[in-house]
């Protein structure tokens, strides 16, 4: 067992526990976008930053990838951490304004506007779908491509992958995906594709069997220019 101080509270956790797991276990909320139980930690979204150490040596680290250390002093919501989180949220809003998940998170943290150049991306490169495809679906149909500004996620050569079974796991798990549809729960259906408050597909009869995310939505006939 490892003993550390979390927000002034002395706690013991199993060796190998990450700071995020420890904090959540003890009930300290830490927001994340790229972390899911069952998928390997990745540290992409940087929303889960926490401050470790004290004084001039204090540092911000991503709690989802940082293992608990003996005697570590962790603060999950210091002013520095909150400032960093708000900045991350503003940047996420700047790149992916349509994402319901990001909007909700921003709203919960009191971010009402962002000050950066507005983009209209539909991916924050969190890698959840890539890990979902590889680790849970054992398919490895999608992955990261390119780098820097042109980094993107998709199948090799942008054509239908031989190993994709169209399980839809990637779209299910995506926090930003516009094609996501909560198809099994009509009352919660949010069709990011057409941004309709009342998606027309709900009215159709075999709603449960539609699996809307498998193909471009017929109802809204989204015109994807790429």
């Amino acid at each position: 067992m490892i003993t550390l101080t979390l927000n002034g509270l002395d706690v013991s956790v199993e060796e190998g526990t990450t700071l995020l797991e420890a904090a959540r276990f003890l009930g300290f909320p830490i927001p994340t976008l790229c972390h899911r139980d069952g998928l390997s930690p990745y540290g992409a979204c940087r929303l889960c930053v926490v401050e470790i150490g004290e004084g001039p040596k204090a540092a911000l680290v991503s709690s989802c990838t940082y293992p608990a250390e003996e005697g570590l002093k962790v603060r999950t919501a210091s002013s520095r951490v909150r400032r960093a989180r708000l900045m991350v949220l503003e940047l996420l809003l700047a790149s992916c304004p349509q994402s319901k998940t990001i909007q909700d998170l921003a709203s919960a943290h009191g971010v009402r506007q962002q000050r950066f150049r507005q983009e209209q991306e539909d991916c924050i490169l969190c890698g959840l779908c890539v890990r979902m495809c590889e680790e849970q679906m054992m398919a490895k149909a999608i992955g990261f491509r390119g780098r820097g500004q042109t980094r993107s996620i998709g199948t090799p050569f942008d054509i239908k992958s031989d190993v994709c079974r169209q399980c839809g796991g990637c779209m299910y798990i995506c926090p930003a995906c516009q094609l996501r549809c909560t198809y099994t729960e009509p009352e919660k259906a949010i069709c990011g594709a057409c941004a309709n408050l009342a998606p027309p597909c709900i009215a159709q009869d075999p709603f449960d069997d539609m699996m809307c995310y498998m193909d471009p939505c017929v109802a809204c006939e989204i015109a994807r220019d790429d």
Partner: protein
């Protein structure tokens, strides 16, 4: 003037659309030991085809047992790997900070104007590909332009036409009149003393040295450049790089060979008699640049 035809001109090889599964397999096999050697594999394929054909990537994924996503991810991550077919000649102009302040943008503009393409594109006749890079690590010599692996330094706008002309002619072409370390030799067989010179099949624009090469019991005539310092040859295309061959005189059919070993790679050296006195020895390994000239006591 070794047996080694330097690298076969791979850029000029068939525009590379045909992917030979056997070749890919051989490349993968070569890098089987190095852990995670997929980058080395991709580099070799790129050398072979000039770019990375889709089929080749699929074959690599199959052969290595890795997923296509990983291979494709690596292939798209690195600047030096490309999925787009390139022209026969590759011009890379540096636009790094040092080159930039020394006027590289004007040089790139001039290349774009003369070739009629933008950076990153290939001319319609598939002759030239123009690329910009962010640093070549020789900032003091900037602006730097690399044409087919040959570095040109302190490039000015008016030097662009010259670089293109050199690339068109082949930057590796050896010209004895320009280079003092390159000079022609005439050689005879050390066994029958018959001249080995072949005027009918010039290499580097000069009479070549004709020998018979035995690789895995297949005899083939090979013509070597008679320029000491040039590594060009013609024939023997089926002999893979790095293979050690036996050399025979085409006239007396005697085996050419001596006791000495190449200082570069340890393969046997092939001696030939230099007309006017002396011996020249070349390495029997294809692709090795080991050679030695003894002119009557003077070691060159």
């Amino acid at each position: 003037m070794t047996q080694a035809a330097a690298e076969p001109d791979l850029r000029g090889a068939p525009p590379g659309d045909e992917v030979d599964p056997e070749q890919i397999r051989r490349i993968v096999e070569k890098h089987r030991e190095d852990r995670g050697g997929s980058i080395a594999v991709l580099q070799d394929i790129q050398t072979l085809h000039g770019y990375l054909p889709e089929d080749a990537l699929r074959m690599v994924a199959e052969e290595t047992g890795r997923s296509l996503v990983d291979i494709y991810g690596a292939a798209t991550f690195y600047r030096s790997l490309t999925l787009q077919p390139r022209g026969r000649h590759l011009i890379r102009a540096c636009l790094g900070t040092a080159c930039h302040v020394r006027g590289a943008p004007r040089v790139v503009e001039e290349f774009e104007r003369q070739l009629g393409v933008k950076a990153g594109e290939t001319t319609s006749d598939k002759e030239f590909t123009l690329e910009t890079v962010n640093c070549l690590g020789a900032c003091a010599l900037g602006p730097i332009v690399v044409a087919d692996g040959h570095y040109f330094c302190n490039v000015r706008k008016f030097g662009v036409a010259d670089i293109l002309e050199k690339a068109r002619r082949g930057v590796d072409e050896t010209r004895p009149e320009d280079d003092e370390t390159v000079f022609p030799l005439e050689v005879n067989c050390p066994r029958c003393n018959h001249s080995l010179m072949d005027r009918g099949a010039p290499v580097d624009g000069r009479p070549s040295i004709r020998v018979t090469v035995d690789f895995r019991n297949v005899l083939s005539p090979v013509n070597l450049s008679s320029l000491y310092g040039s590594f060009h040859s013609a024939g023997g295309a089926e002999i893979p790089q790095g293979a050690v061959c036996e050399f025979f005189c085409p006239h007396c059919h005697g085996r050419l060979g001596g006791p000495s070993r190449c200082t570069e790679c340890g393969a046997p050296m092939i001696p030939m008699v230099v007309r006017g006195g002396g011996m020249v020895q070349v390495c029997a390994r294809r692709g090795c640049f080991g050679h030695r000239l003894d002119l009557d006591g003077v070691n060159a």
